[in-house]
Every structure is written in structure tokens, then in C-alpha cells.
């Protein structure tokens, strides 16, 4: 029985490739499969090739794969671009005048169907996507009823007629496959039946991050649109007003963070979301939040940005910027979820850390994590509870009996009780300049030293529940280390190479003590999507691993394949 199935649909941008891919993914999830997807698109809205790739497996997996079992070509370009990913037993569905099924020299089956003219006959020229979904569904052994259910949900608003023609088109696809391709079927769906009983979520990294923030009590987001982060703003813009929250699209990224810092100063859980170029613009304000000790969560979804890279492509190249960006020295925490599931939990924890340590917390994502969807088990809301740290209530603040509240009171743990503006007995001054305990500008040397220590040392012990994910391979001296959306690929590569795998989720401050233990006597190989091996640099700064560490880097805009990782690591071992 086939344990995984890899599928890709490609065509011209604007042809509904995305929704076609998503529909198939959802049918697979409904059927009980674990699904991982990857979208490729170009920096324009219409025209140009785009594709939606997925890998479905019986067991839970985080990798979107590199081969293709079923290739749906809605244009010639799709076939030309992806032919090399086909193998013996794969099936390519293409458009042509007459039906023909041929086995190619490479051993895959090329199935030609006049999709367009059939679609026209069915009364909707766009139905060719649906016919090819029907063919795919039949080949993969999926129940047609799942398509029918989904169509009804999906096109509910568009009316009976639309639902009906689409269902008809899918059914037609099933018939075509049964008639012409029955000998090539890949019985994948049958084994899933039991799993289909458990509902799964199908969600993107951006959505999980937004949802996690929402559940953590975030009620304010201000931002400026930028791919691949926009969805965080879009999801919250839709949902926050339902619970008395607000999303504001403001004039630029600087305003985006400053509005959020203002709202947070007022006592609201607030955030901003952006991608690399926007993060650069926010730098000074991040410094302000650090200095003024105002909690703020910043989601930074990395990609190759304008000015440095391929704007629509995946990259993990902002790491150093997130850890060090902005002038001077401020406290900050940088988290990087390893999976979409973790994005939910880490986003929630980010708000707790921000409140607890009164500093900026950056949640790093990357394009691969942000924009692609995966099936995940339902989230466990008991895993994270809301902790607002030393935010004072009216009564607590008035207990201090101060006419001018010492906002930056020196305390043992370096964290000062925080009143909100508007509280009767807690008028206070907040400042992004060096200040004394009252918040007044102060250039006194002793004060400067005390305040710097207070701010920079307070986060030393900050730690999230799962600062890294670790799969040890006890026999092996080698350990692969990664971050973010490479989790699935590295995990599979490590398993095949029989080496260890550690995926870091808390990048700053580094959980050094634990890491040192794990890394002891091991050869460390970081696997990362940037030129300078930024993650390796970070690890080297924290630990003496200089003579036993290397890196596998890839910066061509594409995610790693398991094969690449294995080849490159073998060369090193």
C-alpha cells in the first residue's frame, strides 16, 4: 500500500490554481491524510506560471516532498517544468485534442484529455480544474463524497447551480479515470478510513500565528501590507472586531509598530506584522520599545525582499537582523516556530513573554511557513495560559501611594511593576532616552549602569515551553540543526542519514545550558536558507563549537529537498 502521495497542479496565475490545490488538499485531509503543501508564485497577479504542490501521507509528516505521483498540467509550462520530478508509475494529466494514454520512455504515464472541450460541454469552461481533480481523486482512491461535501460548503454562497456543475465535473473526472486509467490507480485513500473520523485543522503558518495571538488576548494590530505576512493582518482584520478588537492598516511600517507600541503602553495586548524590508524600517521603534520597556510582539515573515532578493521566494536571512537590528543595545526575545502547530503556541507565548519581560518579542516565520498550509491536530488551549506579568490593577497601583509613579523602579528581577496611563494613582513618565526610576532623562553614570543592567539582564532566564525540538540519534556523532519551515525536510533527511536533529524555536536568548549538553562531543551541521549560515554564527557566538561545526546553506529561493540535504551532509561526513 502506498504510504504517501505527491501531487502538483500548475497553470497560469489567475486560473484558480490555488483554490484547486487547496480543494484537493482539503479532500485529502477529510479523507484522513496528513497533508503538507507548498505554493510557488511570481511577483505579479495575473499571468506567469504558478503551482500548488502537496504531499499527503498516512502518518503525520511536515514535508511537502520533491517527487510527483500525479501531475496536473493546466498549461504546457507545468509539464516542461516538472517532468523531471516524475518517475516510474507517475501519471501526468495534460490537455490535448484527443484522449490518449501512453507510457513514456522514462516510465511515467502521460494521459491526454480534452479537458477544455469537456468543460465547455458541461457548461463551464473553468470546470477543467474540477475534472482534473476528479481524475486525481479517483487515481488516489479517495471517496467522491468528500468532494461533494466540500463543494457544498465552498460554493454555498454561489448557489445550487454552481455547486451542481462543479460536482458534475468532478464526477466526470472520476468516470474518465475509471474508464481510461483504472490499471494505474494508486490505492492510497483506502488505508486512511479510520483516521478520517478525527477532524483535523488545515491551516497556514500565518493563520496559526494570527489565531494564537487572538487566543492570547491580542486585541490590536497595526501594520502595513507585505507578502508573505499580510495574511496575519487579514485574518485578524476579519476576526478581531467580533471580540472588540481592531486592526489598522496604517501609512507605513514605522507607523505600524508605533501605533502598536502606543496601544500596548495603554495596556492592550498589541502586535504588528511584517516581512524583512518592513522589519528594517521598524528598527528604531523596536529600540524604543526595548528602552521604554513596553511589551510588543512583532511577527516577521522572512523572504528574499526587494533590495536584497527574490521578493516572492523563501529565505531565512533576517536572523541576525532580528537578534541585533536597531542601534544600541536593548533586551528582546526572538522565537521561531518549527511547525505550523508551534506557530499557534509560540505566538501565544510571545505575548506572555512580552508582558512578563516588558520588551519586544519577535516571532520569526518564513515564507515556507507563512503561506503554506498543513493539516494539524486541533490546538490545545490549556497548554498556554494568559500571563500579563507585572501589569498593575488600579488598586495595586494606588497601594504605592506615589504622586509620580516610579515606572522604572529597580527591582530584584529587573522588572518594574507597570501601571497603565489613566490610573488615578499612577501618573508616570515613560521614556526612550536613558532615564531614572521616574522615567526622567538622566545622564548620571551610576544610573546608566544600573538601568542598562536592569534592562539587559532581565531576559537572561526567559524560556518558552519547548525552546527546541530534539530527535536524538544516540549512535551518531552528527546532529543537524535547523529552524522554521525546514523542519519536515531536515527531520526526514536526519532519519534517513541516521543522525540527530535539533530544531531551534528560541533563538534569542539561546537556551545555552541545554544546548551545550546536547551538542557535547557532537559535530553540528546547521541547515539553513541563507548565504552566511546565520544560524551557525549565532550558535558559535553562544558556544565553543568552532572546530566541529559546519553548515548546509541554500539561498536560491527554493525550500530544501530531503535529497539535497542528504547529499550535502554525506559530502561532509
Amino acid at each position: 500500500m502506498k504510504q504517501t502521495i505527491e501531487w502538483l497542479v500548475g497553470g497560469q496565475q489567475g486560473e484558480g490554481i490555488d483554490s484547486t490545490g487547496e480543494l484537493f488538499a482539503k479532500v485529502l485531509v477529510k479523507s484522513g491524510a496528513s497533508v503538507s503543501t507548498y505554493k510557488q508564485f511570481m511577483s505579479r497577479i495575473k499571468g506567469g506560471h504558478t503551482n500548488y504542490k502537496l504531499r499527503a501521507s498516512a502518518e503525520h509528516s511536515y514535508y511537502s516532498g520533491e517527487k510527483i505521483d500525479i501531475l496536473v498540467c493546466l498549461d504546457q509550462e507545468t509539464f516542461d517544468m516538472h517532468e523531471h520530478q516524475l518517475k516510474k508509475g507517475s501519471i501526468a494529466i495534460t490537455e490535448g485534442e484527443e484522449i490518449s494514454i501512453t507510457e513514456t520512455e522514462l516510465g511515467f504515464i502521460k494521459a491526454v484529455f480534452p479537458l477544455k472541450s469537456i468543460a465547455v460541454k458541461l457548461g463551464n469552461s473553468l470546470a477543467k480544474n474540477m475534472i482534473s481533480l476528479g481524475i486525481s481523486g479517483s487515481l488516489a482512491g479517495l471517496e467522491v463524497s468528500y468532494f461533494e461535501q466540500l463543494m457544498e460548503e465552498l460554493f454555498e454562497k454561489k448557489g445550487e447551480k454552481v455547486i451542481e456543475t462543479n460536482i458534475k465535473a468532478v464526477q466526470y473526472g472520476y468516470e474518465l479515470a475509471e474508464q481510461y486509467l483504472s490499471t494505474y490507480r494508486m490505492p492510497f485513500g483506502e488505508q486512511l478510513k479510520k483516521k478520517a473520523m478525527k477532524p483535523q485543522l488545515f491551516i497556514s503558518g500565518n493563520e496559526a500565528t494570527a489565531f494564537g495571538s487572538f487566543m492570547a488576548g491580542c486585541r490590536y494590530l497595526s501594520a502595513y501590507p507585505i507578502t508573505p505576512a499580510s495574511e496575519v493582518m487579514e485574518w485578524l482584520a476579519e476576526e478581531l472586531p467580533k471580540v472588540g478588537g481592531v486592526v489598522m492598516q496604517v501609512e507605513d511600517e514605522i507607523a505600524g509598530i508605533c501605533f502598536a507600541i502606543g496601544a500596548s503602553y495603554s495596556g492592550v495586548r498589541a502586535m504588528t506584522s511584517t516581512s524583512g524590508p518592513g522589519f528594517s524600517l521598524k528598527s528604531e521603534a523596536i529600540g524604543m520599545a526595548g528602552m521604554a520597556e513596553i511589551p510588543i510582539v512583532i511577527v516577521n515573515s522572512q523572504r528574499g525582499g526587494p533590495s536584497t532578493g527574490l521578493p516572492t521566494k523563501h529565505e531565512q536571512s533576517d536572523l541576525q537582523q532580528m537578534i541585533h537590528g536597531t542601534h544600541g543595545e536593548i533586551p528582546r526575545i526572538v522565537l521561531y516556530p518549527a511547525t505550523i502547530e508551534d506557530a499557534f503556541y509560540l505566538a501565544s507565548e510571545a505575548f506572555n513573554l512580552a508582558d512578563r519581560y516588558q520588551c519586544p518579542v519577535i516571532v520569526a516565520l518564513d515564507l515556507g511557513m507563512s503561506m503554506n498550509k498543513m493539516s494539524v491536530p486541533a490546538f490545545d488551549v490549556d497548554r498556554v495560559s494568559i500571563d500579563r506579568g507585572k501589569l498593575l490593577t488600579d488598586d495595586e497601583a494606588s497601594d504605592y501611594e506615589e504622586t509620580h509613579f516610579k515606572r522604572y523602579r529597580l527591582t530584584e528581577d529587573g522588572i518594574s511593576p507597570r501601571p497603565k496611563p489613566g490610573m488615578k494613582h499612577a501618573v508616570h513618565t515613560t521614556s526612550s532616552n536613558e532615564h531614572d526610576e521616574f522615567g526622567y532623562i538622566c545622564e548620571d553614570v551610576d544610573n546608566r549602569i544600573k538601568m542598562m543592567k536592569k534592562r539587559l539582564e532581565k531576559i537572561t532566564d526567559a524560556q518558552i515551553q519547548v525552546p527546541f525540538k530534539h530527535n536524538p540519534a544516540l549512535e551518531s556523532e552528527v546532529i543537524l540543526v535547523g529552524m522554521g519551515s525546514t523542519y519536515g525536510a531536515i527531520k526526514e533527511a536526519a532519519a534517513q542519514l541516521q543522525v540527530g536533529h535539533l530544531h531551534l524555536q528560541q533563538i534569542h536568548p539561546l537556551p545555552i545550558k541545554e544546548l551545550e549538553k546536547i551538542f557535547e562531543n557532537k559535530t553540528i551541521i546547521t541547515v539553513e536558507n541563507n548565504f552566511n549560515a546565520q544560524l551557525l554564527q549565532v550558535l558559535k557566538q553562544g558556544m565553543p563549537i568552532h572546530n566541529r561545526s559546519q553548515s548546509v546553506v541554500q539561498f536560491d529561493g527554493n525550500p530544501f529537498t530531503v535529497e539535497t540535504i542528504i547529499t550535502k551532509v554525506r559530502e561532509m561526513m
Binding site: K26, V29, K30, P199, Q200, L201, F202, I203, E207, M215, Y220, E239, P241, G244, G245, V246, V250, E251, I254, A255, C258, F259, A260, G262, A263, S264, S266, G267, V268, A270, A285, G287, M288, A292, S375, A378, F379, V381, D382, V384, S385, I386, D387, R388, H404, K420, P421, G422, M423, H425, V427, T429, T430, S431, S432, N433, F438, G439, Y440, I441
Partner: protein, 282 residues
């Protein structure tokens, strides 16, 4: 009700005679005469000599960064609509680095008051040209005179939709206080540019210069066009409330009940989770 004494904050370090003193006193007087208490206000300032005002007036104060007092202040107001919020800064702060925010704050009409301490020069960085410096203005760094024309922020605010636009002079305390009172009570984005002589670096726009050259308008002009014409006619050297209009402020326009404040420590809300999880379930 606050008293002037209660509103005294940190000891000012401004040069004796600096116009910023009277603007600070003006803000304090307005708070007193309008009957507010110190805790009901938040003053958000930028950076510059002007930026110090948030520390010198003892309400809640937030000394932010150069040019960003407006976005921070608007965020503060969004976070707590009950607070009275004043944004303030210099002409460099507001019309140079912060000009973009100024235009958008005018359009947006969040209910805050923006007070610019306009000395036609950069004070804190020791006397460079400001976007408000006149064409031909000579400084140490521009010995051949300013090659550019000054910005016209008053007209900018008016044409971009601000609902309260006024100009005052630090040397005419009575008029300035009257304007500030009205600005603070105006519902929506109220903007006041106050001429504030820099006695150390600006030898042209002095108290005497303003005393000789300013014209006062007695009441706001009827339309935006008339207001702009008036400002042009006097090359911006006019004081008084130039334009005022009632328009729903941003938060009213959003039309939802805000509930931004009350999230306290505790468990996540299961029911809320279930309601919103549905859209992702397959």
C-alpha cells in the same frame, strides 16, 4: 481638578527665554482651566528640545522617538479611548521626519490634539535648517541661504481633512491658551502650530518679528478653500482658529464597541477557541 503645582514635572533644561516654556505652561493651564486631573492625560512627544515637554508636564508622559509622536499618540488613544491624548513635537520632528504621519493623522481624524512647537529651526541639534525655515534663511550650515521653500503645514492639514486647525504664538499667551482649550475639547484630530522663538539659534523669527508680522483671524473660515486662501494671503503668518468642522472621529466611524483593555491573566477561553476553530476544520 489639577493645580499648576501638581502639573509640575522634571526641571526644564531649555534656554532661558525659549518659547517652549510658554507652550508648556499653556498646556498646564489648559488642563487646570478645563478641570481635568493629571492622570486623565497622556502627552506623547518626539525628540528635540520640544520633545522634553512630556517630562516637564506631570501627566502621563511618553518621550518617544524623532518624528513619531503622532503614530504613538494615536495608538495610545486607540488603546484607551478614555484618555485625553496630546501629541507634541518640533517643526523638524513633525514636518521633516514625521511629515508623512502628519498628513495621515489629518485624514484619519483620531481624537487627539497635536501641538507643534515651531521655531523654524532645529534646536537640539544646534541650529540647522528646518523644513519651516524661510527660502533664503541663513544658518551656519547654509551660509548661502536656504535653497528650498518652506513647507506649509497649516494648509497641508486643512487640505488633508483635519477637523481643527489653528495657529498660535508663544508670545501671546492669552490667545494661545484660548486656542489650546478649544483644541483639547475638539472631538477629532485637532492641530495647533505654535510659533515658538528659539532664542539661541534663530535670529530672524524672534518675538519682535512675530509681534510685527502676525495677523489674527477672529473666527474660523467657512470653507477649507477660504482658509487656505487666507493662509496664503498672509504667507502663513496668521494666528487664531483657522478651520473647524464637526466630523465623526475615527473610533466613532469604526462603529464597534471597543473592548481592548480587559484582558487579564488566566486561562484561554475554550468557548472562544471552539467558535473560531471551526473555519479551519476539515
Amino acid at each position: 481638578m489639577a493645580t499648576m503645582k501638581e502639573l509640575k514635572g522634571d526641571q526644564p533644561t531649555w534656554c532661558p527665554g525659549c518659547g517652549h516654556f510658554s507652550i508648556m505652561a499653556g498646556i498646564q493651564k489648559s488642563i487646570v482651566s478645563l478641570g481635568y486631573e493629571p492622570h486623565e492625560f497622556a502627552i506623547v512627544s518626539g525628540i528635540g528640545c520640544s520633545g522634553k515637554v512630556s517630562e516637564y508636564v506631570r501627566t502621563n508622559g511618553f518621550h518617544s522617538i524623532h518624528g513619531r509622536s503622532l503614530p504613538v499618540a494615536q495608538g495610545v488613544k486607540m488603546g484607551n479611548p478614555k484618555l485625553k491624548v496630546i501629541a507634541s513635537g518640533g517643526d523638524g520632528d513633525g514636518y521633516g521626519i514625521g511629515q508623512g504621519h502628519f498628513v495621515h493623522a489629518s485624514r484619519r481624524n483620531i481624537d487627539i490634539t497635536y501641538i507643534v512647537m515651531d521655531n523654524n529651526i532645529y534646536g537640539l541639534t544646534k541650529g540647522q535648517l528646518s523644513p519651516k525655515s524661510a527660502h533664503g534663511f541663513v544658518t551656519k550650515h547654509s551660509k548661502q541661504g536656504n535653497k528650498e521653500f518652506p513647507v506649509d503645514p497649516i494648509s497641508t492639514a486643512i487640505v488633508n481633512g483635519a477637523t481643527f486647525v489653528a495657529q498660535g504664538f508663544a508670545g501671546d499667551i492669552k490667545q494661545m491658551n484660548d486656542i489650546l482649550n478649544r483644541a483639547i475639547e475638539h472631538k477629532g484630530f485637532s492641530y495647533v502650530n505654535v510659533f515658538s522663538p528659539c532664542v539661541t539659534f534663530n535670529k530672524i523669527n524672534t518675538y519682535d518679528f512675530y509681534k510685527t508680522n502676525l495677523t489674527t483671524v477672529e473666527k474660523p473660515l467657512e470653507t477649507r478653500e477660504e482658509a487656505v486662501a487666507k493662509i496664503r494671503q498672509h504667507e502663513s503668518l496668521v494666528t487664531g482658529v483657522l478651520y473647524e468642522e464637526n466630523r465623526d472621529d475615527f473610533q466613532t466611524k469604526l462603529g464597534i464597541e471597543f473592548d481592548l483593555q480587559p484582558n487579564i491573566s488566566g486561562k484561554m477561553d475554550h468557548q472562544l477557541y471552539q467558535t473560531f476553530e471551526k473555519q479551519f476544520t476539515c
